[in-house]
Symmetry: C2
Subunit: 349 residues, 2 copies
DNA sequence: GTTAGCACTCGGTAAAATCGAGTGCTAACA
DNA sequence: TGTTAGCACTCGATTTTACCGAGTGCTAAC
């Protein structure tokens, strides 16, 4: 699924302390106000003991180096993607508001149910916490082994193949047979399927009986249906929370439309998240991810793991001028809680 | 203000032929242009052999009777909800474009897979067909009987209860036991559960064994987990297609936000659709459904049935000035095809 | 009942005027 | 050499004004 190479964060050259302070001040204020930031407010705001004029000369330099941009002459400065990147890279560990910590704790102490439900509710939680749109991805189970298979007959021709995997996921597949099969035959086929499949993974090839009787045909049909499962499509669940936030945090109908259109395509969302996914909390700003229609967005992703393996991810999507510290902290906190939730004392969905 | 002779408000039925023609012309043009419609364009457009002045007098009457409204003096007229209602009620059977008929046929001849997937893809189809946001609801299965139950153990304490219903749906529930249970015990519990539950419905109470051994405890735990299932929440699937359309067809960020926020809440959507659901294609315009935040929307709903019973619905959501004829035709066509698809020759998900 | 004629209304648009935040530059200063 | 005050200048945003014209309601004639 993940195709593109991730661009490693540029090792930023210089930027002496004062330039860094100024850049940070610009980013912070612009995130807050959504307006271009002028030299005087920076001079006041940050505890630089310098005049606006000095700030201005520094800003010219920052602009030349690509950290800031000017919407037009005689306007304040606005951070570029590169500016945000610097800001994010030099962020000290974000702090999460007490209220939000409380909310997370509360949520995870009360939540219960299957993994699917937990993930779905988590996406709602995340969007409430951050007021951005959230994306929660539960990864595919193609590596899991089969714990149990059951062929259930609906009527003479229609059967349902229900498969339980070791990671707790369950799939069902219709098996439509051209021939009639009795209840007894289906039960026997079910038994044989279990003998064949238990312990194997989906992509493992199994030896199917070549006999021509009803039972063998049922078994063959079932196995082939199971193998036909597209490994990419199935099992990769996507839960999107707070899509209405898109209309709040982006301006411009066209942008809103584009972002919503992307969110509709779950496959795209999955690959986007997986591209960005790194070891800890990862951020893709503006054009850093390859998705042109999302060039005005920033995406924050944190992994969720079980037994050391990444089994999913939580993500947040907002404008490039999003509240990075809080949102990154929230993503990290939730990803931690989720990891503990699935790995730990509780049921494993 | 000059007081005129009061004419008692006409009961809905009235509207002589000419008024009806004028109203229809206004509705059609306003749906097309989104602009207030003036008397002269109506006089031209509709094949009335009358002058704009006459149209104007009629419009005054239509306004007095509540079918039309004026955004402000010296602007054209705009249909009210009542106006749209009249239009819809007096619509002759809508005709569907050939291209769209083709698209539907194509879709249903190729689509396959479980009901869930079909419904999901249908929602995408609908939104493509109509360029509005679509809602597809698959109704709950609480009335179905249980065909098969399987208790699978993940490890000593975690088990998974997988239930197959006669309508082809499958549910899973985690069963977390405080005590250890062996593979053999779980298998036996599974067997007993099948004996107990096959053929019953979810809300039927079953006699559970009162013994204190591991197997009996597993059985009791499983049955209670199954009964704990909220009958409203489970099984009622909602698929929303083309939510990005919201940003296209509504104007005003606030409206977009509100509509998206509603769509996020699946329960609300289900109850909205079920409220509107009638025998054939039903329409709710503006404030006709009780949802205040959707007062600028119209919703079109058509039922999907299996064996004479309603098992779901397809819906379309757009602004009150939506293209009723086409959209109603599309909803009807798709609902028909779906009904046939599930009832007929194909697999039944 | 219908229509032409007409004065009137009022939102929308465009041109003009104004404002002011913010800039870049220069010259003086530590 | 780096910093700063001073200053002229820029240019988007806002307000003001003027104006157009689509569309109306009314009236008087057909």
């Amino acid at each position: 699924m993940a195709r593109r190479v991730k661009t490693p964060p540029q090792p930023h050259s210089g930027l002496d302390a004062r330039k860094a302070t100024i850049l940070e001040a610009v980013v912070v204020e612009h995130i807050d106000t959504a307006q271009p930031v002028g030299s005087s407010s920076v001079a006041h705001n940050a505890d630089l003991a310098v005049s606006p004029a000095t700030v201005r000369t520094e800003m010219v330099a920052l602009e030349r180096e690509g950290y800031l941009a000017q919407p037009h002459t005689s306007a304040g400065r606005v951070p570029t993607d590169k500016g945000y990147r610097y800001f994010v890279d030099h962020l000290k560990a974000g702090e999460l508001g007490l209220a939000q910590q409380q909310q997370i704790k509360e949520f995870f102490s009360h939540v219960r149910g299957e993994m699917e439900e937990v993930l779905e509710q988590t996406s709602t939680l995340l969007s409430h916490l951050t007021s951005y749109t959230s994306v929660v991805v539960g990864s595919a189970h193609s590596r899991s082994t089969i714990l149990n298979v059951q062929l259930v007959n609906l009527d003479a021709h229609h059967h349902l193949l229900v498969t339980v995997f070791s990671d707790g996921t369950v799939t069902k597949h219709s098996v439509l047979a051209a021939f009639e099969a009795s209840h007894v035959e289906v039960t026997e086929a079910s038994r044989q399927l279990n003998a064949l499949l238990i312990g194997t993974t989906l992509d493992a090839v199994v030896q199917v009986p070549s006999r021509a009787d009803t039972i063998a045909k049922l078994v063959r049909e079932s196995v082939s249906v199971l193998h036909a499962e597209s490994p990419t499509l199935e099992g990769e669940q996507v839960y999107i929370g707070g899509s209405s936030r898109v209309a709040e945090v982006f301006d411009g109908v066209e942008t809103v439309r584009k972002v919503l259109a992307i969110l509709e395509q779950e496959l795209l969302v999955v690959s986007l998240v997986e591209d960005i996914l790194g070891k800890g909390v990862s951020v893709a700003i503006g054009s850093e991810h390859g998705f042109e229609p999302l060039s005005s967005c920033a995406v924050i992703v944190a992994p969720v793991s079980l037994d050391g393996e990444t089994i999913g991810a939580v993500g947040l999507l907002g404008p490039t001028r999003m509240k990075y510290p809080e949102v990154m902290a929230a993503a990290e906190a939730v990803s931690h809680h989720l990891t503990r939730h699935f790995g730990g004392e509780d049921e494993r969905g």
